[in-house]
């Protein structure tokens, strides 16, 4: 087997990572959401770094400290210098990365330019809409999805999506009306934003929002999902049962607004991870390539095609020494992948796929 070049590595000891995100504006800029003490207790830190697969150098540009651990971040699609973070205390914060720590304000830390605190438990994911670029969404262990605009002081909408943790929520890259979430309850749920939200109920007993499509995807917790960028309403997910499964959910689109279906067609599945799959992400450049990160300390790349041959494992990155919790494909450099880990390091490399 031909030796691959080593990854470009950036370490952020003692902050363990929870997610990595590439800037949609700047080719080599990444954001790392992280937490001290494995997110159990203590501060969070948002790291901004310049890093690329072709350069041995990685440079930590800047970091922002938060009271509680950071679990996710999403770059603004309308402002090249802004990014929103999700925190363990349920708060969301919007940062302007041009604002610097000054000797004159030291030791006051740099503060966010906006902050929201509506989630009653850990805010675990954030996603900026690529279609309605003034909107972003958050999901929380309180079971809700919330839709936000950076200019508004409170959320635009709350969807009581699950009765347990909503680990991730993502806007469809093809339809402005659809958002999908995954949960402890083993389901994927696609919500149609044209369906009115039920009147606010009383506290935690509020009736769940009707999902346009509920996919009983896995028998245990579903930790991560992603929309295929080239096949509308094809969704991959991964979780505690160690599989990555791919679901054809096009039926949600044919049924029209107001329908509440249960189903989804299992297209294929990928087995091989030895522990839970913590993150899945489709390639932005290819319909048939997906990466998965796992608590088994590996990040894997698979080719998927609906027709036989079934999904094939193409690459295993096994240089992390702790849980691999995030992975993200570069939007600018085709085939370049970043993976981040509880080992406090992010690796950027070009997996050997073809």
């Amino acid at each position: 087997m031909q030796a691959r070049p080593p990854p470009t590595v950036l370490r952020t000891v003692p902050f363990a990572h929870y997610s990595v995100a590439w800037s949609p504006f700047h080719p080599n800029l990444i954001a790392l959401a992280s937490a001290a003490n494995f997110g159990l207790v203590g501060n969070g830190r948002l790291h901004l770094a310049s890093i690329g697969a072709m350069s041995p150098e990685a440079h930590l540009n800047k970091s922002y400290d938060t009271q509680d651990g950071l679990y996710d971040s999403a770059w603004s699609e309308i402002h090249e210098n802004q990014i929103v973070t999700a925190s363990g205390d349920g708060s969301l914060k919007l940062w302007d990365i041009t604002l610097n720590v000054s000797i004159h304000t030291y030791p006051s830390p740099d503060l966010p330019i906006r902050a929201w605190h509506e989630h009653t438990r850990e805010a675990f994911s954030v996603d900026w809409s690529n279609i309605e670029k003034e909107l972003f969404a958050s999901s929380s262990w309180d079971g809700t999805i919330k839709i936000w605009s950076p200019d508004r002081p409170s959320s635009i909408r709350t969807i009581a999506a699950h009765s347990t943790c909503a680990y991730q929520a993502l806007f469809s890259p093809h339809s402005p009306h659809h958002i999908v979430s995954c949960s402890t309850d083993g389901t994927l749920k696609i919500f149609d934003l044209r369906t009115p939200t039920p009147a606010p109920g009383s506290g935690p007993l509020a009736a769940p929002a009707p999902a346009a499509l509920t996919v009983p995807a896995q028998g245990t917790e579903v930790l991560s999902l992603d929309w295929n960028k080239y096949r509308p309403f094809t969704i991959a997910c991964g979780g505690v049962d160690r599989r990555v499964t791919i679901w054809d959910c096009r039926m949600v689109n044919s049924a029209g607004p107001g329908a509440a279906q249960v189903g989804g067609l299992l297209q294929s599945e990928m087995r091989g991870h030895e522990y839970a799959v913590r993150k899945v992400q489709w390639s932005p450049h290819h319909a048939d390539i997906i990466a998965s990160a796992s608590y088994d300390m590996t990040c894997r790349v698979w080719t998927t095609s609906a027709a036989p041959p079934q999904p094939t494992l193409r690459s295993i990155h096994d240089l992390h020494t702790e849980f691999v919790v995030g992975c993200a494909w570069s939007l600018f450099e085709e085939g370049v992948l970043a993976s981040c880990s509880w080992d406090c390091s992010v690796h950027v490399y070009r997996p050997d796929i073809m």
Partner: protein, 173 residues
């Protein structure tokens, strides 16, 4: 002329005072350490955290009193900045050293983790939490609530099309 030399003289005096302050060994000064613990002890017992500024101001106050040279912590920070010295290293007592990313070991098969300082283990932290010793957990400082008072930047760029948007445009063109 006399005005100029006067102001120059006062700069030199202040500068030498800050040089003295900069090299003063507070760690071995028992009088200072006792005074410092009487200041920060109650804060920590009250559940608060002591920031670098509190310690710095205490040092400046003590130094002025002992030497008769009137200096301030803010003045010291400005003096460091003016002399290209950056943030005082002693002002980061809890911060781990940042790893050098240019270290050749980053290219090794171990992912460059050979020489990384080891954070406290998961089980050690869980033990501290379960035994109620939260104050011993590292990297748990108090970050103020509030928003940045500086003016945010103005957006100047339009976001590039995503690869799949460009591909779809290309195929339908």
């Amino acid at each position: 002329m006399s005005t100029q030399s006067q102001s120059l003289g006062s700069d030199i005096t202040a500068s030498s005072a800050y040089e003295g302050f900069n090299s003063y060994d507070f760690a071995s000064d028992e009088t200072f350490q006792q005074g410092l613990s009487s200041i920060i002890g109650p804060i920590q017992e009250g559940g608060g955290s002591v920031d670098d500024s509190t310690v710095g101001r205490a040092k400046a106050f003590y130094f002025s009193k002992v030497t008769g040279q009137d200096i301030s912590w803010d003045g010291y920070l400005a003096w460091r900045e003016a002399n290209g010295l950056g943030t005082p290293s002693s002002a980061h007592p809890t911060q781990e050293p940042e790893p050098k990313t240019t270290d050749p070991s980053v290219s090794t098969g171990s992912g460059g983790m050979d020489d990384a300082p080891l954070p406290m283990s998961f089980s050690a932290i869980a033990e501290l939490i379960s035994t109620g010793n939260l104050h011993l957990v590292p990297n748990n400082k108090l970050i103020p609530d509030g928003l940045n008072s500086q003016e945010p930047s103005k957006p100047q760029q339009k976001v590039p099309r995503k690869p799949w948007e460009a591909a779809i445009d290309g195929s339908t063109a």
